[in-house]
């Protein structure tokens, strides 16, 4: 069973600690949900797993492990795209505005050693997989010509085009309307089922967790306060942070779940 883990992650901005001793493990074929209120350090944890923290932040502790083996910094960098894919919220800002979608795919696949023509075919195939009926038009478009929901699915396809074992999804459904959310989540589900990838799914929306997650970790104030399987979390939440989250969620959406 292939695993990707981060252990003992500590991040601070200047003197303020933002993430304290966080350890998570993602397994192939399983979805690990990461929930918590905004500002809890979830996004930072995701970025740290790929060594992509912005220069203003200091990582004072923590290691990335693959299949139990500690990785050095250059090895972590080698994971990007090839072993671990990344999907973020507000996808529009993640695309280069001057370059077509097709070019985004071409350059990603070129990094994988794939020639232009083969890359185009692979890209079209992936776009079909995430639910686009007309991949050709999408490939020829620029980011500003596509809607947020479409860009989120394109981003998913891009993250997966190098056949990674794992996917880090940071709030992939935030900012999207419900119909599009459903589409994106369905695509994610299919990806997990079809490719057996391991997903770290960060979200503050518990219904997403309920639908997709096998295990859940709860983060508050930069720490993991609870971690168990999804069913257990909903039935018997242990930490009051989790309980608070559940209360708020049900207050908003009612008891009907799954």
């Amino acid at each position: 069973m292939s695993t990707l883990a981060i252990q003992g992650l500590c991040i601070s901005a200047g003197a303020t600690p933002l993430v304290r001793d966080v350890s998570l493990q993602v397994q192939r074929g399983r979805v690990l949900g990461l929930v918590g209120t905004s500002g809890g350090g979830k996004s930072l944890t995701v970025l740290a797993m790929l060594g992509l923290l912005s220069p203003g932040l200091r990582q004072t502790g923590g290691q990335v492990l693959r299949d139990g083996a500690v990785l050095a910094v250059p090895q972590v960098a080698a994971l990007r795209g090839a072993v671990v894919g990344l999907v973020q919220q507000s996808p529009r800002a993640c695309f280069n505005p001057l370059v077509t979608i097709g070019r985004h795919f071409a350059e990603t696949l070129a990094a994988h050693g794939l020639a232009r023509r083969l890359a185009a075919e692979r890209a079209a195939g992936l776009l079909a997989e995430v639910g686009f009926d007309d991949p050709g038009t999408i490939l020829a478009s620029y980011a500003f010509q596509l809607s947020g929901g479409m860009l989120q699915r394109v981003m998913l396809a891009l993250a997966l085009c190098r056949d990674p074992d794992f996917l880090l999804a940071d709030e992939p459904t935030t900012d999207l309307d419900l119909a599009v959310q459903a589409q994106v989540l369905a695509s994610l589900e299919q990806m997990v089922a079809r490719r057996g990838i391991g997903v770290l799914l960060v979200t503050h929306d518990l219904s997403v967790i309920a639908r997709l997650a096998d295990d859940v970790a709860v983060m508050q104030g930069g720490r993991i306060v609870e971690q168990q399987d999804a069913v257990g979390l909903f039935d018997a939440p242990r930490h009051n942070a989790t309980q608070a989250l559940l209360r708020t969620h049900f207050a908003l959406y009612g008891e009907a779940e799954q």
Binding site: A78, R80, L86, E107, F144
Partner: protein, 313 residues
């Protein structure tokens, strides 16, 4: 792209008209009597009869509107009248001197892009380290230098002291180096600073994070994602610089005895040669506006949002 170019060209026509009209009025309503200037340049004695005859020949007794329309109808047919001092067609003389000025301004523009942009990138990538401090100090000095003085300095160093480059004239590729450097320095330094801040801005953008997350090699990220995006503000600004470069070239021409439009225009001013002045401004404005259009086209070619007429959110 073609549609874009045509649309821009169409908006330039009214602009040229207004410009030429305003200048025409300034000329005619300014000090002095054009008829007297004409006689002086033709070396004819300014007797009352001669003045009256000149006025009639030059159409100065007609209402201003008619005079302007006369000139305009000629200008549209590419006839800008004849110089009062040499008697030769203004268009012919301008076309004779224009290439040298364009060549100098063009060489300067190349220098601005080939030196200013990379140095700005360098300064941004090595932010707050010595390459950054050094280039910024040089840039700060560079925007404060008078271009003609820099020209003299270069001549002193490279011609008089070292004897490497010719001090004046336009023959051989070596003779354009110093004039081009003198002309380009100010704009090059402004471009450097602009590129630096532009690159710094792009480096903080999220599409870079995603590019890195996809595992793209450094070279691709730097080239396609950083430089391409960062070049847009300096490219837009280049449109403004074209005017400065054309003007600066004319001053530098005086230092290096470069046979361009600069000296031609200066003589016309001293002589108060009205047809030359009117034609000169028209041609220069046209050249400047066309250069701006080329820059805009380059900008549109790079940024698809401009081409499609939308602005990204």
């Amino acid at each position: 792209m073609l549609g874009f170019a045509v649309r821009r060209l169409l908006t330039l026509v009214p602009l040229l008209l207004i410009v030429s009209l305003v200048f025409f009025l300034m000329l005619r309503l300014g000090r002095g009597d054009p008829a007297l200037d004409y006689l002086r340049l033709s070396q004819l004695p300014p007797t009352d009869a001669a003045v009256a005859l000149a006025r009639q020949q030059l159409g100065l007794d007609q209402p201003l509107a008619a005079q302007y329309l006369n000139w305009l109808s000629g200008a549209v047919r590419l006839d800008l009248g004849r110089s009062w001092s040499t008697g030769r067609p203004v268009m012919e003389e301008v076309l004779h001197f224009l290439p040298a000025s364009l060549q100098l301004a063009g060489a300067a523009l190349l220098l601005v892009m080939l030196v200013g942009l990379p140095l700005g990138l360098l300064a941004a990538l090595y932010r707050d380290r010595w390459p950054d401090h050094l280039t910024r100090a040089i840039a700060f000095l560079g925007v404060s230098l008078p271009n003609f003085w820099l020209g003299f300095l270069l001549v002193l160093l490279f011609s008089v002291q070292l004897g490497w480059l010719p001090a004046m004239g336009r023959d051989g590729p070596a003779s354009i180096i110093m004039p081009a450097v003198a002309t380009a320095t100010m704009s090059g330094c402004v471009t450097l600073r602009l590129m630096r801040s532009s690159v710094l801005g792009v480096l903080g953008e999220r599409h870079l994070v995603f590019a890195r997350a996809r595992g793209l090699p450094r070279r691709t990220i730097l080239g396609r994602h950083v430089v391409l995006n960062a070049m847009i503000p300096p490219l837009t600004a280049l449109g403004l610089h074209v005017g400065e470069l054309l003007g600066g070239a004319m001053v530098v021409e005086m230092v290096f005895a470069w046979p361009g439009l600069g000296r031609y225009a200066l003589l016309a001013i001293t002589n108060r040669d009205f047809p030359v002045l009117q034609g000169f401004v028209l041609v220069m404005t046209l050249v400047f506006v066309l250069c701006n259009l080329v820059v805009d086209l380059a900008y549109a070619w790079v940024d698809p949002r401009i081409r499609f007429g939308t602005r990204a959110a």
